[in-house]
């Protein structure tokens, strides 16, 4: 067989194989008729004008430092380009070409809320992101917004809280508006002594907040439901509550307390005297709980020792003191019993009930009506007293165990004596 002929066979065979392969390809593509339009893979739905960073293509070439920040932000990942805030042409290849076509440069500070609002106040556009669109409206009504409208540029605008290029979601722990970062964010201005001096603010609200019960609970992570700044003052519509509004703000969380307070003689009297309601006793930013042994003292700020109002305070204070000391006594006994060791799980959970009852007495105290407070403190006291009594019984029954053990040994030794005698007799018999 000549070489040429062999080659022809090889090539021919190869052609046949290729032909078959092609045929099967076609057959495979057509055979399962189910491949209809439904199974076309859905392309990612992107709203018009939000194509990922298309309007940012060339900016980063020169503004690389800004690009680094922008890349970390939500606007980058949601596809909001540089040009949507700064204008210009992102695809131009020259600096001059880029800084044309409605280029805005660095937006003026006064115009920033309106600039952000051009997207964020657009209901239709925000619906896609499931974001609210009322922030601008709220901002305009806030102290910040009203002062800005009057030309005061030292107030906070959007970027002061949310950041400039590196804008992150509020849920992002690195965001300036992430819950635990809020006191520091507000503190950038309100914690600054020079700023406060300029605006005539005496107290340092951020430091006070950190020292109060709210700040301690929230910043330590102990109670994530404790408030940061915005929970009382609002965020976009930030305004300090007026004298008569304090209870409403505090009452957002302290519902029961508020109800009792409103019904009490304090509400009207305090409003008339210009006292800031809750804050009159508990302070504003440095919020303090009043422990039972101290709270009668705090009344002396307005009342005299001889007043009948002060007698009410003493009664309330005594009821709470009695309950809390009874609970403390029971806790001590339970701890002693646990060290023996005895089972105290049940007692612990009952003492928790007692503490809850005492805690329930706290809102009721704001009614200033001892007949309303009494059931709670009585319940706390009686639970604690009963626990004390039961634990005491249990501990003293352990003493009886020891007496029983002594008695047991007495009988045991008597038995042993009898058996030893019997053994001796048996040994004698064996001998």
């Amino acid at each position: 067989m000549s070489g040429a002929r062999r080659w022809m066979i090889v090539v021919g065979f190869a052609l046949i194989v290729v032909g078959f392969a092609g045929a099967t390809d076609v057959a495979l593509a057509q055979a399962p008729g189910a491949q209809s339009e439904e199974s076309v893979p859905p392309s990612r739905v992107v709203p018009a004008g939000a194509k990922p960073a298309k309007g940012s293509a060339m900016c980063g070439v020169c503004h690389s430092d800004i690009r680094v920040k922008y890349e970390k932000g939500i606007h980058r990942s949601e596809g909001v380009p540089c040009t949507s805030c700064h204008g210009g042409n992102a695809n131009a290849l020259t600096v001059e070409g880029a800084h044309r076509d409605g280029f805005r440069g660095k937006p003026a500070r006064r115009s920033i809320p309106a600039l952000c609002a051009s997207c964020h106040a657009d209901v239709a556009r925000m619906r896609f992101y499931n974001l609210p669109s009322d922030q601008y409206a709220l901002y305009q009504l806030s102290h910040h917004g009203m002062k800005l409208a009057k030309g005061d540029e030292s107030v906070a605008v959007c970027i002061d809280c949310h950041g400039v290029h590196e804008i992150r979601k509020p849920e992002d722990p690195k965001s300036h508006v992430f819950g635990r970062n809020i006191p520091a964010t507000c503190g950038k201005c309100h914690g600054d002594p020079a700023f406060r001096k300029r605006h005539g603010m005496k107290e340092d609200p951020v430091k006070d907040y950190e020292e109060g019960v709210h700040g301690k609970a929230y910043l330590s992570g102990e109670d994530p439901s404790a408030p940061e700044c915005t929970r009382c003052h609002g965020s976009h519509g930030a305004t300090p509550p007026g004298v008569g509004d304090v209870e409403r703000v505090c009452g957002q969380c302290h519902l029961k307390t508020r109800n009792y307070f409103i019904a009490s003689p304090h509400k009207e009297a305090m409003d008339a005297a210009g006292q800031p309601e809750c804050a009159a006793c508990h302070n504003s930013h440095k919020t303090l709980a009043l422990p039972p042994e101290k709270f009668a003292e705090s009344c002396l700020a307005c009342h005299d020792k001889g007043d009948k109002e002060y007698q009410v305070a003493l009664t309330l204070s005594r009821m709470k003191n009695d309950a809390s000391s009874e609970i403390a006594k029971a806790e001590k006994l339970v701890a002693e019993a646990a060290a023996i060791p005895l089972y105290v799980d049940d007692y612990r959970s009952r003492l928790q009930d007692a503490r809850t009852a005492l805690l329930e007495a706290a809102p009721v105290t704001h009614s200033l009506d001892s007949t309303l407070v009494e059931p709670h403190t009585r319940r706390a006291r009686s639970i604690a007293a009963r626990v004390s009594q039961e634990v005491h019984e249990k501990v003293s029954s352990r003493w009886w165990h020891k007496v029983g053990l002594g008695l047991f040994w007495f009988y045991l030794l008597l038995t042993a004596t009898i058996i030893t005698r019997a053994r001796r007799r048996a040994a004698g018999r064996a001998r």
Partner: protein
């Protein structure tokens, strides 16, 4: 009504005429509790009197009471364990509440529970001391191989029974002790897979707890009973102790009185321990919270420390070393064949001392090091 040989009517005589009481009681001697045979053709009193007056080599004398004490403790464990089983519920949700019920609401519940606990502690301790005694008195020489191997296996089985019992209350210390113990047992090459198979999983949920329960109340007690039987049977064949050279001077009757005294003082000791040193109870086990002092039980501390120290070795080798040592201890009678030369005896003696010291030191290290801070 039938009369007994003395001509008096008695309930025993009436029964005797209908059942062979001697045959029933001779079960004790077949098992080994009565180291003399009962003649089942004679009436019970006569047969007992005959057996009791047989002379007996020295018996129930310290430290030779360890074996019989362990057996008595075993009977105690069975009795108290059966009582506890009336209340115990082997599910992850109900185990702890049911043990709390026993300890708090049931009359004598704490006592029974604490006696069970202290019996287990002493049981294991005495079995361990017994192995040590057998070793130093050379009680594994030719003819007594079975006695030695059974003694070691009894200790090992009792340790596993103890281990399975620790999980049952489902309190934090029991739970995490078991977790740490599984760390050791899972690393062993042959015993590890067997344990995993029996226990049925690495989690400690209800399905596994039920298996621990069955192992604790049925499988291992039965195994222990079989081992005790082997021991008694072997002792009947090869004699109480090789050291019994003194002439027999006591009757079985006297020995039985001694046994009774032993029981009395053991009961007294157990009650004292249970009342004065109750085992503290932890909170209910929380599988998501490891306490800082989670440690395996004392008998597994040394292997754990050894395996952690040898962590540079491949895993199967690490587990192989403690297992090889255990195997060497079990098969000691075949390694240390008495060839007459004193040097060889001394070598094994020194090896044993070294092993005990190393064990002690490793356990001591483990006790302090295994606390995570």
């Amino acid at each position: 009504m039938e009369t007994n040989p003395e001509g008096k009517r008695s309930l025993l005589g009436w029964l005797e005429a209908r059942v062979n009481l001697t045959e029933i009681v001779s079960f004790l001697s077949v098992f080994g509790l009565l180291p003399a045979e009962l003649d089942s053709r004679k009436p019970l009193r006569e047969a007992l009197r005959e057996a009791m007056s047989q002379p007996l080599p020295s018996y129930a004398r310290w430290p030779r009471v360890l074996g019989i004490l362990s057996f008595l403790l075993f009977l105690f464990l069975v009795a108290t364990g059966t009582m506890l089983a009336f209340y115990y519920q082997p599910t992850a949700e109900q185990a702890y509440p049911s043990v709390t019920l026993i300890a708090r609401d049931v009359a004598f519940g704490t006592l029974i529970h604490q006696v069970h606990y202290w019996s287990a502690v002493l049981f294991l301790l005495f079995l361990g001391m017994r192995v040590v005694r057998f070793f130093f008195q050379g009680l594994y020489a030719r003819g007594r191989e079975i006695v030695w191997m059974v003694a070691v296996l009894t200790f090992v089985t009792a340790a596993i029974a103890d281990l399975t019992g620790r999980l049952l209350p489902y309190d934090a210390s029991g739970y995490w002790t078991t977790v740490r113990a599984r760390e050791v047992t899972d690393a062993l090459p042959v015993l590890g897979p067997i344990t995993s198979f029996l226990v049925g999983g690495s989690g400690l949920d209800s399905t596994v707890l039920t298996r621990y329960y069955v192992l604790h109340i049925a499988i291992f007690p039965i195994l222990l009973l079989v081992l005790f039987y082997f021991h008694f049977s072997s002792v009947r064949r090869v004699g109480m102790s090789r050291l019994d050279t003194a002439p027999a001077h006591r009757s079985l009757r006297v020995a039985m009185y001694d046994l009774l005294l032993l029981v009395i003082f053991m009961v007294g000791g157990l009650m004292t321990l249970a009342v004065l040193f109750p085992q503290p109870f932890d909170a209910m086990a929380d599988p998501f919270q490891t306490p800082p002092d989670a440690r395996p039980p004392w008998y597994l501390l040394a292997p754990l420390v050894l395996m952690e120290a040898l962590s540079f070795l491949p895993k199967f080798l690490r587990g192989l070393i403690p297992e090889a040592i255990l195997a060497a201890v079990i098969f000691l009678p075949f390694l240390d064949r008495e060839s007459g030369s004193g040097a060889r005896r001394r070598l094994f003696r020194n090896l044993g001392i070294a092993l005990l010291v190393i064990w002690g030191v490793l356990s001591w290290i483990g006790w302090f090091l295994e606390v995570r801070r």
